[in-house]
């Protein structure tokens, strides 16, 4: 089945086509949102939300980009929504610590990426912690390109930014990460 046929069938609400799409994209979508969210449960939820949005919005898909770019864009937005909600919860926890006692645990949690070899886990966890503290746009660009290994062209389409803007985001992200890592090792 080519992409055009798949899109047409999805627009007609064909369930086997939707299942085929989910089965073919679920791992890539999950991997992307996991790298951004650094939380397995939230990543599962964001991946599900992505496919629900795909199902509900496919009729409005204008095919200005490829289907995979469109799906990734939705996934990134869903992950961003989760990050924003998490930040709101953390702010509320600072104001009213007795209201959400579990929030402290999630703030202190160290993310161990399940796809990383055991001997590299410690260093990777330090890097992920530093990435977590980056400003939103820098975090997204750095995660997609440097962590996920996406090419600049694809990342630009997903982030809806031009190449210069993305390069600038990566460069600023690297400087910020360097400072954070220096501080981390100085304080240790």
């Amino acid at each position: 089945m080519n992409e055009q046929e798949l899109i047409q069938q999805l627009k007609q609400g064909n369930e086997p086509a939707f299942r085929w799409l989910v089965d073919n994209y679920r791992n890539r979508v999950f991997h992307t949102v996991l790298n951004i969210l650094q939380d397995t449960n939230e990543a599962e939820d964001a991946a599900q939300e992505t496919f629900i949005q795909v199902f509900e919005s496919i009729k409005n898909f204008k095919e200005e980009s490829s289907l995979s770019t469109w799906i990734y864009r939705i996934a990134v937005h869903k992950a961003l929504d989760k990050i924003r909600r998490r930040k709101t919860r953390q702010r509320l926890h600072t104001l009213l610590p007795w209201w959400m006692p579990d929030e402290k645990k999630s703030e202190e949690a160290v993310f161990q990426h399940p796809g990383i070899a055991a001997e590299n886990k410690e260093k990777a966890a330090i890097l992920f912690k530093a990435i977590e503290a980056l400003p939103e746009k820098q975090k997204l660009a750095f995660t997609l390109i440097k962590v996920q290994g996406m090419n600049y062209e694809e990342a630009c389409e997903i982030l809806q930014q031009n190449i210069k803007a993305v390069e600038s985001l990566i460069s600023r992200a690297k400087v910020n990460l360097q400072k954070q890592l220096e501080n981390y090792y100085r304080e240790r």
Binding site: R19, V22, D23, R26, N27, R28, F30, H31, L34, E44, A47, Q48, F51, I52, F55, H113, P114, G115, I116, A117, N120, K123, A124, I126, L127, A130, K146, V147, K174, V175, L177, Q178, L181, E182, Y185
Partner: protein, 108 residues
């Protein structure tokens, strides 16, 4: 040759080289369908409850609580100010009354 300005970042990036793609399990579609169905029935319920749902949202509950506290505070402040005025007025009128009989309230 340009000096590397982010050596620590590059060193840590090495640790994620060769990272395996992490996927979901085979029951992902089943969970997704269950969520879609739950949402569908939830939407129907929400439509039916639409008129009731807005006052129960946390933002409205908190807003109402803050408003009530503010009104309470205002009323308390107002009441104590009125009390002070009333007591000053009543003391002075009592004094006047006592004086008209050539007396003083302190003598009582």
């Amino acid at each position: 040759m340009e000096k590397n300005s982010t050596p620590l970042v590059d060193e840590h990036l090495q640790s994620i080289q060769g990272m395996q793609e992490v996927g979901t399990d085979d029951f992902f579609y089943t969970r997704l369908k269950a969520k879609m169905l739950a949402r569908q029935s939830g939407d129907e319920k929400e439509q039916a409850m639409k008129g009731w749902s807005f006052p129960l949202k946390p933002v409205w509950v908190l807003g109402t609580l803050v408003l009530l506290l503010a009104v309470n505070g205002f009323m308390l402040a107002n009441q104590s100010a009125t009390k002070e005025t009333t007591s000053t007025v009543s003391t002075s009128s009592l004094q006047q009354f006592a004086e008209s009989y050539d007396q003083s309230i302190s003598s009582y």
